[in-house]
Symmetry: C2
Subunit: 417 residues, 2 copies
Amino acid sequence: MNELVRRGTRGLLRDMNNSRVLQIIQAHGPISRAEIAKIGDLQPPTVTAIVNDFLRVDLVRETDLVRDNGNGSAAIGRRPILLCLNQTAAFAVGVKLRQHGMTIAVTDLGGTIVYRSESVLPNHTPDEALRFIADRVENAIEVAAINSTKVIGLGIGMPGIVDYRNGVCCFSPLLEWEGVHVTSTLESILGMPAYADNDVNMLTAAEIAYGAGREVSDFLTVTVGQGIGLGIVLRGEIFRGAAGGAGEFGHVKIESDLLCECGARGCLEAVASDVGISQQVAAAKHLSSIDIIEALELARAGDREVLAIVEHAGEVLGRSVGNLLNLFNPELVIVTGEGTRAGDLLFAPMRRALEGAAFGTLGRDTHLVIQSWGDEAWARGAASIVVHEMLKPPIYEARSAGPLVHLLARSIHGGTT
Amino acid sequence: MNELVRRGTRGLLRDMNNSRVLQIIQAHGPISRAEIAKIGDLQPPTVTAIVNDFLRVDLVRETDLVRDNGNGSAAIGRRPILLCLNQTAAFAVGVKLRQHGMTIAVTDLGGTIVYRSESVLPNHTPDEALRFIADRVENAIEVAAINSTKVIGLGIGMPGIVDYRNGVCCFSPLLEWEGVHVTSTLESILGMPAYADNDVNMLTAAEIAYGAGREVSDFLTVTVGQGIGLGIVLRGEIFRGAAGGAGEFGHVKIESDLLCECGARGCLEAVASDVGISQQVAAAKHLSSIDIIEALELARAGDREVLAIVEHAGEVLGRSVGNLLNLFNPELVIVTGEGTRAGDLLFAPMRRALEGAAFGTLGRDTHLVIQSWGDEAWARGAASIVVHEMLKPPIYEARSAGPLVHLLARSIHGGTT
DNA sequence: TCATTTAGTTCCTTAAGTTAATTAACTAGA
DNA sequence: TCTAGTTAATTAACTTAAGGAACTAAATGA
C-alpha cells in the first residue's frame, strides 16, 4: 500500500528532528534552544546536540540579541541565547524554462536573489539543451562569486507535465520534450541534487516558503495569465498526483465551444486566461488580434461587449474555483499571475460565482487572496523548492540524500569555513 | 508549516517498523521472515523481534505450509517458516448511519463480517443518538460473542461533512447534525478508539483494504447512487481536506438549471445521480415520480426521450470525472454504487466524454473500473477504517494511541489468550 | 550575599536498529 | 551415509540517538 515511507532506521530519528529543529528556527525567527524544545516537543539535550551540528556548519548562528518581554521589564533567570538561520550559509539555484528562453536565479536560504541572468534557449535536442542549462548554471555560480560547496541544489521549473519524483519531463508541448530525464542528467553534470517540477508548482513553493501560504497547511494557488494553472498544497506538501500531472486546471472542461491551444474544445483556459479573453475580444471586434491590456482598457472604458466577455470569464473562473473548494476544501486560495492586473473587472464576478458554486458554507469559510504579480516570483520559487526539500520532514524515500544531509555530511570532512 | 509530523522519538522507529511488517504480512499472504526483511528492507533480527511481539499477541501465526517453488522442484536450504495474519485475532466494529437507520457490522481483520444488525435510529438529539449507537454496539459485541478485549475500535460513517482528525460531524443535513463531537463521546462510553468519517470514505477504505485499490497508491472512488460522492486516495491515504469536507463531488457545478436537493442549481448530482435521472424522466413523462429501475427499463426498451436523458447524464458524469483526472492524475478510478446497475446505458457515453475531457493522454492512461455493487460494502468499509488505522505508518500525530499500539500494549499485562 | 528562576550542558540510561557469528534445517553429490 | 553448500532464523555484542537527572551558567531581587 504505502511502500514510499522510509523504514524505521536510527538515522531517521535524527533526520526528522534535524528537519524539525531547522524548520522551527526558520519559521520562528530568532529563538532560544529552550523555546525550540517547547515548540518542537523535544528534550533540551536533543536540541542542544542538533543545534551544535548546525552551528558547526554555520547554518545557524547565535545572536547577542537580549531577550525582551515586550513590556520592557526584563525577565528573571538566565537570558536565552537566541538562534537564527544564517541565510547566507547556503545557496540554491533556480531555473525557469520558457519556450525559447530561461531565467536563472541564485538565492540564499531566505529567498533573497543574489544573482540573476537571462539566456536564450537555443533550439536543440533535449540533451543539448540540458548541457547548455548546466553550463549557464555553472557560469551563474561563478559570476555570483559563491563557493560552490555552499550550493545545496538546483530547482528547475518548466511548462508541461513533470514527474517530480523521478525528475522526468513527461510531456511539454512548448519545449517539445517528451520523457526527458532532467534531474539525473543535471545531477551528473553539476554534482548537486536537482529537482524538476511544473512551473506552477515552483510558484506554489514560493508561497509555502515566503508567501501567503506560510502559515497554512492546505491551500491552492491558481495562476491566471497566458494559461491557467493550479498548485495544490496538502499537509504543507505540494501534491503532484500519481505521475506528476496533477493540477491541469486550465484544461478542465466547461460548457463552451471555444477552441483551446491544446486542441480540445471547452477548456477553462480558452475562456478565462489572458489569451482566451483577448481572442474572444478580437473575434467580437472583428480584429485579427488584440493585446490583453488594450482589451482591458476597452472594458474599463465601458465597452459593453468586452465587459460581458470579461465578466463571463470571471464567472466561469469563479465557478471552476468553487468546484475546487468542493473537491479540496482548502483553508486558502491564492490567485496570482499576470492576469491579476484585470482587477475587479475579473474578480468581482469571480467571487460571486465562487460563493454560488461552493457547497454549503465552504465559499464563505475559505480565504481568498488575490496577489499582485511580481516577476521575480518564478525564479525565487524554483530555488525555494530546493530550500523546501531541505526543510521538509524526510519521511518518504528519496532518490538520493537530501540537501540538508549533504550539507551536514560535507563539512564533517571539510571543516567549518 | 508541517507541525503534524510526529517527532523523532525512540518509539517511533518501532511503531513504524511494526506497521511496516504487519502491512507486509497482511498484503503478501503467507510469507517468511526472510522475505519480509527483503521486501521491507529491514534487518533479519529486527523482523524476528517484531514478529515475536505479534506472535505473543496471536496477531500473527506460523503455518506449516511447505515452501513450493511453483515448478514443483523443492528449493535448497532450510525451509522458511511462513507467517500469516490471524484474521480473528482482533475485530473491528463498523457503523453506517443513514437518515433514520443504522447498520452495525462486526468484522475480523480480513474484513469478513462475523455479525451484522440493523436498527432504526430514533429521532433524538445527537447526544441521545450517540448513546443509543453505543448501546447497540455493545449489544452487537455481546451477541456476536466476541471477547471485548479483542475489539480494536469502532469506525462510524455518516452522510455529510466530517472532520476526521477531530472526529466531529461538522454538517449533516440528513441527520440534522452540526458540530457534533462523535468520536470523543463514543470513545468515552465504549473505551475503544473510534473514527468518524464521511460515508463515501468508508467505501474508499474498503477499496484500499480489500478492493481494486489494494495495489494502487493514488486512486479515486466515485459513488453513483442516490447522490454522487468521491473518495480521494493519495499516497495510499484517504485525503479529507483541510476541515474534512473534501470530495463534495456531487455538488460540483455544471451548466444546468436543474434544482438539486441541496438547494443550489446546476449540481452534478441533480443531473447524473439516480434521483436526478428519475426526476428528469418523471418531468419528461409528466409523471409525479418514477422509480429509477422503471426509468432504466424504459431506456432499455428504446424510449428515445429517456435514452437521451441517461446518455446526457453519462456525458456530464464523464466530463466531470475527466476533470478529476486533470486535477488528481490518479492511476485508477473506481466507479461504484447502486447507480452501476445502469450499465453501459450510462457508462458508454461516460467513457467517451471522459476521454474527451482529460488532458493529453491522461484519459487513456488511467484505468477505469466499474464495480458492481455489494450491499455489505458500506459496513465492511466502516470497520476497515479501523483496520486501516492499525496498519498505516504512524507518521502523523494522532489524538490517541492507535489500534495496533493498543493491541500490543494490552497483552503485555494480560497474557496471551 | 544568597535564594530563586530560567537556559543550557554533561553524563548516564535505555530502546531499538546493525552487524557478525551461530544454530537450524534442508539438498545434493561423492 | 557423510559432507559441503545453502538458506532461514536466532543470538550476542555493538552503536546510535533519545530520555532523564543532575549540574553549571547567568540573571533577578530581597
